[in-house]
């Protein structure tokens, strides 16, 4: 090791290490949290226009989503599927593929898990049922991503459009399946058979929080480590950052592309499964939580970093659980959360632009 030290001084290596990083982290925090604060203010103005006291609204949301024990448990439960979605999007976005088909993949995973689990549980042990439901949801979602994947890999067709289309199709197909194929004959409202509560994923300790949360956390951290620490993850990142360099380096880009889509959709499908076998127990007709589009901004905000994504998924869960309560109590529809998230996304993009310009100006 001493040899290394002398070599480092011989060539000007690592000369500017250490020092700047603390400031760098501070700057990162500023351009992440700054836009959030600005967005809360802007969205607050929207509330003001509608005649709602923004402070009262935000206070209520925080109270119901974060501070009340029941609300916090709901928030943590809500995180479970969202973490899987975020993990799936991180894989795709880091590899430069815009998988915008999350909703379709999620719902099809959810519906097939919901259709199979109540039947399987009659013949299989409980844990095997859960595993099988996960596998089925994963495989179905993967298959649903196959057409966009193959079109992008071998025909160069833009995946933004194809995944969006497949998402619309998937949402409709999921509904058709619930209404026509997987209908529970015992109920009048169209919905799938219900997985009994005792057969679902166990809850954590004495709370109502699903153990799916743990699976979600483990999954997103595993995905993060895969993307940053393994050869496979590096290959995907090379494809994402410079596809021509990937070809030059001898990577099989079409195969990697299909793999990325399969991984991404599979993770999202698992999110659907965890929502069913952990939380909902069945799928009612026309159920579409539209988590897919809501999680995209979260992944951008986290800059595709798995750990940061956990934090932002938590934030989004607080907002949506709190927002649902607020919709019932304060009469502000949940759509407000969409508005808030979109404002965050725009202010974040502007903040990054300003940061970039500021850096350029300083360097010049």
């Amino acid at each position: 090791m001493s040899g290394d030290a002398t070599s480092a001084s011989a060539t000007p290596l690592d000369a500017s290490g250490g020092g700047g990083s603390a400031r760098d982290i501070g700057r990162r925090l500023l351009i992440t949290l700054g836009p959030i604060v600005v967005s809360l203010v802007l969205a607050g103005c929207v509330l003001l226009v509608l005649g709602i006291n923004p402070l009262a609204y935000y206070g209520y949301v925080v109270d119901r989503g974060l501070l009340s024990p029941l609300g916090l448990q709901q928030t943590l439960t809500r995180m479970a599927p969202l973490l899987f979605l975020a993990a799936g999007l991180i894989v795709a976005f880091r590899a430069g593929m815009w998988n915008l088909g999350g909703d379709g993949q999620f719902l099809l995973g959810a519906v097939t898990a919901a259709a199979s689990a109540p039947l399987l549980v009659q013949v299989l042990p409980g844990w095997l049922t859960l595993v099988a439901a996960f596998v089925i949801a994963t495989v179905v979602a993967m298959i649903w991503s196959l057409i966009p994947a193959l079109l992008r890999a071998y025909q160069g067709v833009n995946e933004i459009i194809t995944t969006l289309m497949m998402s619309f199709l998937g949402v409709s197909l999921a509904n058709v399946l619930v209404k026509l194929v997987f209908l529970d004959p015992a109920t009048t409202v169209p919905q799938t058979r219900t997985l009994p509560v005792e057969d679902r994923l166990p809850r954590l300790f004495e709370t109502t929080v699903t153990s799916g949360l743990l699976f979600g956390l483990v999954t997103i951290i595993a995905v993060h480590l895969m993307m940053t620490r393994t050869a496979f993850g590096l290959k995907l990142r090379v494809v994402g950052a410079n596809p021509r360099a990937a070809v030059h380096a001898g990577l099989n880009v079409p195969l990697l592309t299909v793999t990325v889509f399969a991984l991404s959709a599979g993770l999202i499908g698992m999110g659907g499964a965890v929502d069913i076998v952990g939380i909902q127990g069945n799928v009612r007709a026309d159920w579409n939580p539209a988590y897919g589009l809501a999680v995209i901004p979260v992944v951008f905000l986290a800059r595709m970093n798995g750990f940061a994504a956990i934090g932002f998924v938590f934030l989004l869960s607080v907002l949506s659980i709190g927002g649902e309560s607020a919709a019932r109590r304060l009469g502000v529809p949940q759509n407000f959360t969409m508005v808030l998230v979109s404002i965050v996304l725009i202010t974040l993009a502007v903040a990054e632009y300003l940061d970039h310009r500021f850096n350029q100006a300083r360097r010049a």
């Binding site: 509608l50 005649g51 199709l169 409709s172 589009l293 725009i346 993009a349």
Partner: protein, 311 residues
């Protein structure tokens, strides 16, 4: 069931096809110009829903459909101006901003609608049609094709206007250059940012108009999320048509026909869930992409912000 092939049924089918096609046509023509100029406008769904809501309000309060179209187009342009500022002038990521605008406006219009009308969905009176003399008297086709609101004929005329613009005018050349080789346009002395901004604003106007038509004429009312992917269909039409306005028209008519056919099937008593109906156009798009998707030749600089002097 006996009426499945009757004349009135056929006429209704065709009429429905046109009605369903017009919003897609307007959105597709608008998106086509953005893409030609090198901007991938994913925010068009947001522009459409803004147009639908503002258009509905305009018509609802004034009682004039034309004022409704005007407010719808204006709202679309307003959203487009934000998009142009962020993506064309500042060069921010067009996908991120596009998603944000779509998400935000879907939410915002739903929110505003809730506070304005709570859970009621007031209806507009039926739109006034302008029958074309003589042609409107043809059996079946007359009532189906030539008894529409004036804006329908204008939308079809717009197709030919676009062909003329792209083929015969300086503007058409400038747009093509902005999408294919913006640097060439810049050194020829034309402002790339301005050209692209104009294209995005046009997209907003057309999308807003399409949204207004969808709400006011097509549905006669506004429901949150009423556009339901029509803007995205517009993007697909523009991508498949590759700069040819007539193809947008053809594509819009095919999709409109699908929608109309499935609605008609329901009316005729064939029992399919609405979800199946909603799937048809998307299935058609995917089939077209699988068959003809071969490297849809998009402009070389599509999605790339222009920065003068950058290499």
């Amino acid at each position: 069931m006996g009426g499945f092939l009757s004349e009135t049924f056929l006429a209704a089918l065709l009429f429905g096809a046109i009605t369903a096609a017009i919003p897609l046509l307007l959105a597709g023509l608008g998106e086509q110009m953005s893409e030609k100029a090198g901007v991938l406008n994913i925010g068009i769904e947001g522009m459409m829903i803004a147009g639908a809501y503002a258009g509905f309000l305009g018509a609802y309060y004034s009682g004039s459909f034309w004022l409704g179209f005007a407010t719808g187009a204006a709202a679309g342009i307003l959203v487009a101006a934000l998009m142009a500022l962020l993506c064309v002038r500042l060069g921010l990521n067009q996908i991120v901003i596009g998603i944000a605008l779509t998400l935000g406006l879907e939410g915002l219009t739903a929110l505003l609608h809730h506070f304005q009308f709570s859970r009621s969905y007031p209806r507009l009176p039926a739109a006034q049609v302008t029958p074309i003399p003589l042609l409107a008297e043809i059996p079946v086709f007359g009532p189906a094709l030539f008894r529409h609101h004036l804006i329908v004929y204008l939308a079809v005329a717009a197709v030919f206007a676009m062909i003329w613009v792209y083929r015969r005018t300086q503007l058409g050349l400038n747009l093509q250059a902005a999408g294919d080789k913006p640097a060439a346009l810049d050194v020829a002395g034309i402002d790339v940012v301005r050209t692209r901004t104009a294209a995005v604003l046009f997209t907003g106007g057309m999308a807003g108009l399409g949204g207004a038509y969808l709400a006011n004429v097509g549905a006669g009312l506004f429901i949150p999320f009423i556009t339901n992917g029509a803007g995205f269909l517009g993007i697909v039409l523009a991508m498949l048509a590759r700069g040819r306005p007539l193809w947008v028209l053809a594509g819009a008519l095919i999709f409109g026909g699908c929608l109309s056919l499935t609605t008609a099937a329901q009316v005729a008593g064939i029992n399919v869930p609405t979800d199946v109906i909603q799937m048809v156009p998307f299935l058609a798009v995917m089939a077209m992409l699988v068959l003809f998707g071969r490297r849809a030749s998009l402009p070389a600089a599509l999605g790339i912000p222009y920065e003068r002097g950058a290499r």
